[in-house]
Amino acid sequence: MMKYNRFKAEQEVLEAKLPSNIYRFMDMNTSRPYLVMAARTNRGNVYTLRIELDMFPDSIPQVFVNKMLYDCNNNPLDTPSSTMHTLNSKNGCTQICHYGSSSWTNRVSLYKVYIKCRLWLEMYEAHLSSGKPIDYYLKHQN
C-alpha cells in the first residue's frame, strides 16, 4: 500500500506531465486501490488503462487495458506471451507485461509505468499493421 508521501510525489509528477483529465486515482482508502488512465496513440485511438496499486510500489503493478485486445490474426491477447509482452487477462481485459521483476525497484513512478504501457499500445497498433510481434519493436529487459 502506498504511503501518503509517495502518493503525493506520484500525483505531483502526473500533474506536471499530463493533463489532469486523463488520470484518476480510485478507491485509494480501500485494499484495492487503482489508477485509471487514458492513453491516445499516435493513430488517434483512445485506450483506458487500469493500474492496480494494492502492492505498489513494493511490487510491479498489474496493468490492464480495459477491454480485450486481439492480435492481427484476431486471437485474443489473454494469455502470457513473451513475443507480445502480455500476461494472463482478468475480467476480460488484456494485461500488459511492462516490467521484469529483476529490473523493478520501488523508485519507479506510475508515470514511467504509464509511458511504458503507452509505448506498448503504439507497438500493438504497429503489430496490427505489420503482423510483426511486439517484441520485434520492444526489447526484453535482462
Partner: protein
C-alpha cells in the same frame, strides 16, 4: 502551477536524468574494501563487480 511546485518537479526531473545512474562497487586493493563509485568510472586498478540491469521491456 506555482513556482515552488515547478522547482520540485525540476528537481525530480534532474534526479532522473543525472541521478538515475546506479553506482558500481569497485574494489580498493589498498583497503581491501569495496567502495561505491559512480557508474562507468574506473578507479585505478579497481575492479567493477556489479552490473546495472539494462532498462528494457519485460
Amino acid at each position: 502551477m506555482n513556482e515552488e511546485k515547478t522547482n520540485k518537479i525540476a528537481k525530480v526531473v534532474k534526479d532522473t536524468q543525472s541521478g538515475n545512474t546506479i553506482t558500481d562497487l569497485v574494489f580498493n586493493p589498498e583497503t581491501g574494501e569495496f567502495e561505491e563509485a559512480p557508474m562507468g568510472i574506473t578507479h585505478g586498478a579497481g575492479e567493477v563487480v556489479t552490473d546495472m540491469t539494462k532498462d528494457g521491456f519485460a
